[in-house]
Symmetry: C2
Subunit: 418 residues, 2 copies
Amino acid sequence: MKALILSIGDELLIGQTVNTNASYIADKLTEAGADVKKVVTVGDELDEIVTDIKAGLKNYDIVIATGGLGPTHDDITREAVLKAFDTRLVLSETVLEDIRERFRKYNRQMSPVNESQAMVPETAEVIRNEAGTAPGFWIEQNKKYFACMPGVPHEMKLMMDNFIIPKIRSLKKSGGTVSKRLNLLTTGIPESTLYQRLIPLEEIIEDAKLAFLPNVYGVKMRITATGANEADADEKLIRIEQRMRSVVGRFIYSRAEEELSVVLGRLLKERTLTISVAESCTGGLICDEITNISGSSKYFERGIIAYSNAAKVEILHVDEDLIAAKGAVSEECCAEMAKGVRAISGTDLGLSITGILGPTGATTTKPVGLTYIGIADSEKVVVKKFNFADNRINNKKRATHAALELVRRFLLGIQIEP
Amino acid sequence: MKALILSIGDELLIGQTVNTNASYIADKLTEAGADVKKVVTVGDELDEIVTDIKAGLKNYDIVIATGGLGPTHDDITREAVLKAFDTRLVLSETVLEDIRERFRKYNRQMSPVNESQAMVPETAEVIRNEAGTAPGFWIEQNKKYFACMPGVPHEMKLMMDNFIIPKIRSLKKSGGTVSKRLNLLTTGIPESTLYQRLIPLEEIIEDAKLAFLPNVYGVKMRITATGANEADADEKLIRIEQRMRSVVGRFIYSRAEEELSVVLGRLLKERTLTISVAESCTGGLICDEITNISGSSKYFERGIIAYSNAAKVEILHVDEDLIAAKGAVSEECCAEMAKGVRAISGTDLGLSITGILGPTGATTTKPVGLTYIGIADSEKVVVKKFNFADNRINNKKRATHAALELVRRFLLGIQIEP
């Protein structure tokens, strides 16, 4: 099934808005087994949109359009659909009731403009909007398919997930096979090492497809398995995951696209453990990540951003002589920081980090990127050395992720060294 | 000058990569006065790329392509250019020397594959790559223009800024008018209020165009002025900026697309002032923003993430009875936090924040979003009350920005209340 994505809106052509809708749709379509061949972005110009819809349906099996379905004068996608499919508007009672209900719920006055959004192309099946007033449309013609959705990302996403993807899966089902996807999120291991450990690959993934998607936080492994039906594809994914975990399991922190701070927060809550943090080089990013999670006050007690040596000495009680002898960026100082923040906070765990994240700050013996991360509990303190080789902002992110991962492994008793 | 942007690469069609290159190019082209009519994204398929280049040059004045210029087998844009323009490859000594120089600089071994990147289409003008090995190309044919650049964002951006935009400006110059753009970054004022204060708009902006571009941090005002030449457009922009500043000047923190943390850092350095921070609800994000700037250790001394009441009392010396009486989210507690962090750090300024950023934590008298931000110097402490009405993550960002802005206004002696 060859697909074209048609993005509509002047804001995309002047560079005001990044087209994240297209990549969301492309990702979902690919997962559902469709083959996205082209993305076309055009402005709010009627003739251009009509031409692109017609050309799209001629050259591809399905065209998915977004944008231009709002209630204002420059929203002309609905009109373009009428022209492209030579149909007319009819009132949809379902949509009218959806819109009325939405206005009742928010206690707002409906205008005639809103009511007019209940007028839909006669040949279209309505895609109801769970998060806004403009409905989407689905049209089938000569074994080709056309969908259009509003450009508001969260409205579009609900329509993709709840209507279009199931529709495409059911269309494909009649054709034969079904594809399903699993994402395993790893951190602390380079893409090349991950790959080497998975050799011989075909014994592990059978005939499934495996993509390595690296970013600053780690490598996502995307496995796409195809089966005779959903259960068949699911079973294959489970077998593959088990085999992958047997060789690189300790690097996998999520199979549900969860952020590491979510995974770690759940671990701490399950074990009713508390944590405090002493940061130097990351400058607050570790605390920020931890507190992005609602409910983190249950396990996060305090953080000390000990940027100056004075702060390390005065608040964390790191020995002044130790800093003079070993430097603030040292295994010894890092250990003292972890023990210190734990002691003053009365938490179960103390996490610490000290390093040189650049671009300045390097010395003859300590290069940019050198970083120590430490974790202390009531019995011991563990410090691990890292070298980050990216720019300042990315080094902060990498170091933060490495720190959260160190805590996760410490709690799970997973080997910390690679 | 009608433009088409052609983005090339399979990674864009499977949703792995968001097409930020297209929005960067669209923004720059629009600023230079070109009219972007369409963005087309295709995969690494030779015939498709050739077809799109030819169609683009037929229907538009200029086609700007990115991607597929690397040294591996799936990089086929150069081959497509040869086919589309019916030309052949010749060796560019300039490019070869650029590549050699790059390998010398990084002390790496050159491979024949890298050398082959010095082969360029005979009819093309080379766009030198200041940040990588693959050159870009510029081709003129029958008064139409074609450019292609690597897809690596920072390589592409250098080529856009240093070659393509000047080229387009010089092409347009012969045609008549010149457009120039100014971005004024504001914060702490809603789009609607900003708009009202600028009425009557035509007396302020003359015949220029003004766009309000809001995001979570504030509203960017983008002014595009057109003149007979560059100097003429520049003069118009200066007049407009002066008039705008006379009505909304105190909300403008940058005219150079600088982040607020950069502006604030410069202010602190110029005045040789130091700052410490006591954060509750923002959980480290303020310290993180401040320390994103290289050299921030010159003015940032320490931060206390006093998430628990115990931390507020033990480290910042906030009175326990005050917290019991007024609550941790109160003007009084906020003032004590600012004074406390300043006192223990010995800095010139102490910044504090306490609030409820949601989704949980509201009480009968204190709703989600209620936040106090305080700033203390040797003479006084100022506390301002805010209500943020977004989700948790965005509230953290909004509150952080409001805190940095409060310090900026405090230092400049600008009125703090709207």
